[in-house]
């Protein structure tokens, strides 16, 4: 490798990113952490005084005078985790067989279907969600069709329910699961699969003992990539979810743009950040341990 020692050129190449991300990425994250311990001002601002009750409102040590502990925040956090986990599982169940199918297609068809799966990356998120609004609303396409063919007699109420939120998240996240999954399924050592079958293992045994462990990196990668944007999502629940579909992202947004309690909003987003960092670090540790075993 053409590895060179530290020089003026290296400094020139590296300083833009250091300055830019230092000022506009690290500093803002640090400011959220600081704000989450500040006193909310009366008219939307902040007072620069230490205030532990932003977290107290969430976790239960509120003083009961200035701030009151409400279990609803933890419930919404738990719900957000649940929705994100369901999104991961559903994306996985949908993508795994399809990735398998695409990897077994002749080259030309493979390219076509891989193109079709990446195409949604290029189309607008809000447009894709709007489509589901059209389909799911009480007088929408789904109900019109189902009523028309007589499957149901009353319109289904799917829009503004948790089911609609999870459906919407699965829809927008599915390509993110597909690609890492596909690359690990495509790299599957077919000789091992055949050997397993020849040695008398059933299809199910082969899947559990041979295929699944080999594709685990793809499953893990896809799960992390889908889980992280899902847990802090606020656009999907905003468009498709009602009060019962509210997620932590919506709470954060409300604190910043309507309730104007920035310190409390900061405390809520610190929790989102903590969840994300935990998931990331866990997956990295896990991947390293796996890699160590194989080596």
């Amino acid at each position: 490798m053409a590895m060179r020692r530290q020089t003026a050129v290296l400094t020139a190449l590296l300083s833009p990113v250091t300055l830019f991300l230092g000022v506009f990425f690290l500093l803002p994250l640090l400011i959220i952490a600081v704000f989450s311990f500040l006193t909310p001002g009366l008219y939307g601002g902040v007072e620069w005084a230490f205030y532990p009750w932003n977290y107290g409102r969430i976790f239960g040590w509120a003083d009961g005078i200035m701030e009151i502990y409400e279990p609803i925040y933890l419930q919404i956090m738990a719900r957000s985790l649940g929705f994100a986990a369901m999104t991961v599982v559903l994306c996985l169940l949908l993508c795994y067989p399809v990735a398998f199918w695409v990897s077994r297609l002749p080259a030309r068809w493979r390219l076509l279907f891989l193109f079709l799966i990446t195409l949604p990356f290029f189309s607008s998120l809000i447009v894709r969600l709007y489509a589901w609004l059209l389909i799911l609303k009480p007088s929408g396409l789904l109900n019109t069709v189902l009523l028309g063919i007589g499957v149901i007699s009353e319109p289904l109420e799917i829009l503004y329910t948790p089911a609609a939120v999870v459906l919407g998240m699965v829809y927008v996240m599915v390509p993110f699961m597909f690609l890492p999954l596909f690359s690990s399924i495509d790299n599957l050592d077919r000789a091992l699969v055949e050997a397993s079958m020849d040695l008398g293992a059933t299809r199910f045994q082969t899947f559990i003992k041979v295929i699944l462990p080999q594709t685990l990196p793809g499953i893990l990668g896809g799960a992390v990539i889908v889980f992280i944007p899902s847990v802090g999502n606020f656009i999907v629940p905003d468009v498709l979810g009602g009060a019962k579909g509210l997620m932590i992202g919506n709470l954060v947004e409300q604190q910043f743009l309507s309730a104007r309690n920035w310190p409390f909003g900061s405390a809520l987003s610190m929790i989102v950040m903590a969840v994300v960092l935990t998931v990331l670090l866990t997956s990295i540790t896990f991947a390293k341990r796996k890699g160590g075993q194989n080596a």
């Binding site: 991300l21 189309s123 589901w132 609004l133």
Partner: protein
């Protein structure tokens, strides 16, 4: 998969999956041509009225108040589109330069903090956009910076730099360093080798990174939503506002045009990639 029934079932499932992905988009496109203004789920007859209204071809002065409101929103829409293109253009330029420089530094030089940078550059991509959005909002307000086009551009560059970095770095990994070594051995300075040997080889990767940055910037909703000033609404934020106020036939027409635009861009990207391998 030698079992034909199993294969047929798998094929059916997979085709159903692609139907699930594409049917909603086809629904929008279909209804954008439906003339029924009250209930767009009931097909009346084919019309181009919604497109005419959007493109400002409908009569501007009308006795119908609703019409007037739509036409006003047309002007807003074009303004939002202009802002989106400006933001995406500037963002692409800045993040491509910074991201490429970073990728070269991390692939071609040895230094102590290298591992740190490699991990650190993943963070802006993995950080949920809402956290980044509110962080930037507090930051800009605290330092007294007016929310404007500039704040949107800064917001987009914070995470798109990492995307460009990843793509260009992957490209560098596939290059043969012998060419640069030869250039250095023949007496070229570091800058010269960089400009005349490394950058030309990297061009396809840089172009790919730039295209991705442009597309993501055009589509970004969450960060823009928090750091956009009242006078700097981008197209996704504009549509989000319309969708929040309810379903309207105009949205179908805007959405259809955006779907068509995205297909064209994606096809362009594919074509560029296939040309590179020739």
């Amino acid at each position: 998969m030698r079992n034909p029934i199993g294969w047929a079932a798998l094929t059916a499932f997979s085709l159903g999956f692609f139907l699930f992905i594409y049917a909603p988009l086809l629904v929008i496109i279909g209804y954008s041509f439906n003339s029924n203004p009250v209930n767009m789920m009931i097909w009346e007859h084919f019309t181009l009225d919604w497109y005419r209204g959007l493109l400002g071809l409908a009569e501007r002065v009308s006795d119908n108040n609703n019409r007037a409101a739509y036409i006003e929103s047309t002007d807003q829409m074009f303004k939002a589109l202009r802002i989106s293109l400006t933001v995406a253009g500037c963002t692409t330029a800045i993040s491509t330069v910074i991201g490429t420089a970073t990728a070269i530094a991390l692939s071609r030089y040895k230094f102590a903090a290298k591992g740190f940078y490699n991990g650190f550059l993943m963070l802006p991509m993995m950080m949920p956009d809402i956290v980044l959005g509110i962080g930037l909002l507090i930051f800009f307000v605290t330092i007294g910076m007016q929310l404007s086009l500039l704040t949107i551009i800064i917001g987009h560059c914070t995470f798109l730099t990492s995307y460009v970095f990843i793509i260009v770095q992957a490209r560098i990994a596939g290059l043969d360093p012998a060419l640069e070594e030869a250039s250095a051995d023949l007496g070229a300075s570091e800058w010269l080798t960089l400009r005349k040997v490394l950058l030309p080889q990297l061009a396809p990767g840089i172009l790919g990174g730039a295209l991705l940055a442009f597309v993501i910037s055009m589509d970004d909703l969450v960060i823009t939503y928090f750091v956009a000033g009242t006078d700097s609404t981008t197209l996704p934020v504009f549509i989000f506002g319309m969708v929040r106020r309810g379903v309207k036939p105009e949205i179908n027409a805007i959405a259809t045009m955006m779907i068509v635009a995205s297909v064209i861009i994606a096809a362009l990207g594919l074509w560029l990639r296939s040309r590179k391998t020739d």
